[in-house]
Every structure is written in structure tokens, then in C-alpha cells.
Amino acid sequence: MATVTLRGLRKSYGPVEAIKGIDLDVADREFVVFVGPSGCGKSTLLRMIAGLEQITSGDLLIEGARVNDVGPADRGLAMVFQSYALYPHMTVRQNMGFALRLARVPKAERDRKVEAAAAVLQLQPYLERTPKELSGGQRQRVAIGRAIVRQPKVFLFDEPLSNLDAALRGQMRIELARLHEELQATMIYVTHDQVEAMTMADKIVVLQAGRVEQVGSPLELYHSPANLFVAGFIGSPRMNMLQSEVAGADATGVAIDVGPGARIVVPVQQGQVRQGDRVTLGIRPESLAAYDEGQLAGTVRLVERLGGMTLLHVGTEADLPLIVQTDGADVTSAHAPIRLAVDAAACHVFSADGLALPHLATHRLVARPEA
């Protein structure tokens, strides 16, 4: 049972507070991803868990025991670094066995463990090579192998795939997911790449400026973002954000005028929102579709054809930019007039303070843990 618990964790550098009080529970065998823009503190938080950064205040518990003052080597963690941090003068075998050698594990046992880890990662042919004789993907695997050999309670990954090219990154993503299943280990993974976060995580933690914005499963974040930041950060292309005014609110939802005579009713709890309040309407690009009787009128400004799908950049009559995701076979050309239909049930409404109004119905793919 390798659980990690963060209670009011804070980190200050002099007067600057980098981590502003974080509470989080990582369950046993969970794959948790910290995601956020550059400088949001996600790496710092990981390094605090690793023991490489001092914790200013708050408690860090691993398996229920407070480890704030335990050294990095004794916390039972293993970390994979962004630069891999392989020891250049050692062979792959020595790199992977270094921790065991320092722990004075006999050579025979060391070799057995290194070879077992190498087998998992298909590294056996490279054991006697030095890191510089390996490709980027192989080095990445050695760095992971070095972590596996130690049989840690928790694996920590600090943006491990950011130095790989796109194709290799996709491959390593699958490999990491397979490893997670095979090793049945708790993993904490830091990335700024939302594709990595969405595809691998059991639980995503969205961080911004040292605070947790939202914690939830990937689809929970996608379908019920808690606030404007999460809504804008998760999802590519970005969610369209329209500044608008509430035309009416009742138990069936919040009515918003998206254009002259075009009113949509978004099925969200009305909460404190009243008629006339300023709100932000969030529409995912795939919730918009070209439709002759659509509520929104506008002009196509740019067409991006990605093959499997096409992105239409549309300017509405009110001159608001919208991105529409359509089929790859879409024939719409640039500068053509277009009418768009809005899937009101999939829209999001954010009140003036940036918080989302909860949907009346949860998405069928989102299992609410508390419900």
C-alpha cells in the first residue's frame, strides 16, 4: 500500500511563495499527473515529494508516515529526471545497479535484479554500453530501469518525455502505461503536455501559480472543468470563451443570447446567477457544427485541414473568434459565410468570478467518485 498524502504543503524561496498550500491524496497504484503551465510549481512539488527540496511547512506522508525530514534516498521513492541524469562514465548495467551497489547488495543479486529490469524494458542487448552509445529512447528506458531496479514504493517522473521526438513520445507513452499496469506501482508524473496527462492519468492535478485548480479524472476535467483556467487548459484546440450576459435563469438552466435572436439554454444549476449578470460561455470546438438553421452566423476566416479533422476559424457577426472542429471531409472553404449550431448541453457557463456552474446532469463517461 504505497499512498502519498500532502497536507497543507508549502514552499517559500525567501519572500516568494512557490507552493501555496497543497492538499492531495494519492491512492495506492494510482497514476497521478501534475499538469500546468510553465512555472506553476509542478516540478517543485514533485521535488518536494522526492526530498530534493525542503518543505517549508505542511506535512508529507508516505504510507501514512511523515517523511518531511527523511532524506531522499530513504523515502522509498525513485525518480526519472527530465534530462535522464544517467551517469555518463558508467555502463547501462552500472547505471541501473548504482543504487544497489551503494546499498551494498551482493553482486550476484544486483545482476539478477538489473537483468530482470532490463528484460521488462527490452534493454538486455545494451547492458554493457555507456549512455552516449544509446539513442534518446533507449536512454529514457535506462532512466526508467534505474528506477525499477530499486523497487520503490512510488515512482516520480519529471517531464520524462519532453526531450523525445513526437513519434517516440507516443511510443513511450504507451510503454509507460504498460509499465504502470505491469508493476502495479504508484506513480506521480509531471508534464506540461495535456495529451500525456489525458492519456495516462488515473487522476489529473491541474496546478497554477502554486495552487491546485482542480483534481479529477481526465474526462471529469474535460467535461466538468471547475473554472475558467481548467476549461482553457484542458482540451486542444482550446475551448471557445464568449463573454455574454444572462438572458434568464431557472431550474432548467441558464439562457444566454449568443447572437441577435439566438438564445441557447445551457442545462446548468442557476446558483447565484441572475438575469443580466455577466458570465462566460464556454463552447468546445467539437460542440459547434455547421448547420444551415444554426443560431450563430459568421464568416470562415481560415481553414486548417489536419486530415482526420478540420478546424474552421470563424468570425461571428459580433466579431468574436470561434474555432470549430469538423469532419476531415468537410468542404467549407475560407471566406465563406457559415451558420453554426451550438450543442447547448455540452456548453459551460462560468460566473464572473471564473467558477463553473455545475451541470444538471453528469456526463455518462464521468463516474463521480463521491456520488
Binding site: Q82, A85, Y87, P88, A103
Partner: protein, 273 residues
């Protein structure tokens, strides 16, 4: 190419030529072809073997001191502490003092039994001041030359330490390496290339140490601090035996080449890594 070749070849050929001549400045008319007499005289001269040994002792000791202390200081100066910038400048500044001046300072201000700082310290503790150049001549010369070359070693090694990827050290910490394990398994291997460079460059200069010996001990007492460079100087310009000095010079060239051969080979292997 031709100019470069002449530039190199003429002095070399002349040295070799003189080494086979009987050529004494006190009696220039007595010059004649001497065959290998100069060499025979040289290798049968006990002074020569002493000077050869002294040269190697000086070289090995200074290398050991500068590389050893330099590595420790480089790791130390890489740590963050108040006044680090000033400390670095101070540690590196001896390199800017010219050898003659450095030797004079050490001889008269530091090691002199009456006026020197060490003598004053000894007296402060009620001890007999040590006459360094009389009692420990070789150790004194080694101390001066090490003092001059330590900053060089420190400078090169410090830049090397700073280029060490900090994630490597952190990875080692996660792997359970303490301060000493980090030093021996991570820092030292990382420095091996820089250490080779320091050894190579220092060797070239340490084989020819002259000013420090000339200023302080003049090769003495007796021949205790006479190295090959000083021996050649003494032969040519104190005994005016150009032929014998040239023979010593040729031996010095051979010695430098032998050392350089082994060094370059071992370093070339290291630089490949």
C-alpha cells in the same frame, strides 16, 4: 610550412650539433668534434642523475599537490557561501604573480628564518624558527611552485565542476549516495578529463622550472634542488661548457618527449570518452 620547419629545426639541430662538440666558452679555440664524450661525461656525472631525480620529484609532488588540493578547492568553491566571488578571485590571483617575484616573496617574506612570517609564527609559539631553504630545500621549492600552479588547477577544475549536470547529482542522492559517494562516483569521474588537461599543461611547464630555483636556492644546498633545467644553465653559463650543456639539453628534450608520449596517449584515450 618551410618557415615553421626552420623555426623548429634550426635550434634543435644546433643543440644536437653542439652536444657532439668540445666547446667551452673559456677556451673557444679548443673546439673539436667530441663524439659521444659529452654524453658519457653527462651520464657518469652523479649531478646529472640527481638533477633528473629532482626534476621528477618536483614534477610529481607539484602535480599531486595542485591536482589534489585543486579538486578539493574546486568542489568547495562550487558551494554557495557568502563572499564566494571574492574568495574565488583571491584563490586565483597567485597565478598572476610572475615566478621570480613569487619566489622572492616566499624566500624573503614567508620562509626567511629572521624576517619571514613562518619564523615569526614559530617564535610566537616559542619555537626555533626553521631555515626552510637550508633544512628542507626541495620541500620549500615544491611549496612555492605548488602555490603558483594551484590557482591554474583550481580555475580549470572549477569550471569543470560547474559544468556537472545538477540532475546527475540529484539522481545520485536519490540513489542513496552520500557526500563522499557523490564525490567519488559522480564528481571525480566527471572531472577526469579536466584533470588530464591540468596534468598535461602543468607537466610541460614543471619540467622546465627555473626562476624559482635560481632566485631561492640556486640549485643548492649542494645539488639538493638542482633540476635538469638548472643543471643545463649551470653547465653552460657557470662552467661555460656549451657542449656538455647541449648534451643535457638533448636529454631534457628526450625526457620531455617520453613524458609527453605517455601523457598524450593516456589523455587522448580519456578525451574519446
Amino acid at each position: 610550412m618551410a618557415v615553421l620547419l626552420l623555426w623548429m629545426i634550426v635550434p634543435l639541430v644546433m643543440t644536437v650539433w653542439f652536444s657532439f662538440q668540445r666547446y667551452n666558452l673559456l677556451d673557444p679555440s679548443a673546439d673539436a668534434f667530441a663524439g659521444i664524450d659529452n654524453y658519457v661525461f653527462l651520464v657518469t656525472d652523479p649531478d646529472f642523475w640527481v638533477s633528473l631525480t629532482n626534476t621528477l620529484i618536483l614534477l610529481a609532488s607539484v602535480l599531486a599537490i595542485t591536482v589534489g588540493l585543486g579538486t578539493l578547492l574546486a568542489v568547495l568553491f562550487d558551494q554557495d557561501f557568502p563572499g564566494r566571488g571574492i574568495a574565488r578571485v583571491l584563490a586565483i590571483s597567485p597565478f598572476f604573480v610572475m615566478p621570480t617575484v613569487a619566489a622572492l616573496i616566499w624566500k624573503n617574506l614567508m620562509m626567511h628564518p629572521i624576517y619571514g612570517v613562518f619564523g615569526a609564527i614559530a617564535r610566537a609559539f616559542g619555537l626555533e624558527p626553521v631555515d626552510w631553504f637550508a633544512e628542507y630545500p626541495m620541500a620549500s621549492v615544491i611549496a612555492i611552485v605548488s602555490w603558483e600552479w594551484l590557482p591554474f588547477a583550481l580555475l580549470i577544475l572549477l569550471t569543470a565542476v560547474q559544468s556537472l549536470d545538477h540532475e546527475q547529482r540529484e539522481a545520485a542522492r536519490m540513489d542513496g549516495a552520500g557526500v563522499f559517494a557523490q564525490f567519488f562516483f559522480i564528481t571525480l569521474p566527471h572531472l577526469s578529463r579536466a584533470i588530464s588537461v591540468v596534468i598535461m599543461i602543468e607537466t610541460i611547464f614543471l619540467l622546465t622550472v627555473f626562476a624559482e630555483i635560481f632566485v631561492t636556492t640556486s640549485g643548492g644546498p649542494g645539488n639538493a634542488t638542482t633540476n635538469l633545467a638548472f643543471l643545463i644553465y649551470a653547465r653552460a653559463l657557470l662552467q661555460f661548457d656549451v657542449g656538455g650543456a647541449s648534451a643535457g639539453g638533448v636529454v631534457a628534450i628526450l625526457l620531455a618527449n617520453i613524458v609527453a608520449f605517455f601523457l598524450v596517449r593516456s589523455i587522448a584515450r580519456r578525451l574519446e570518452v
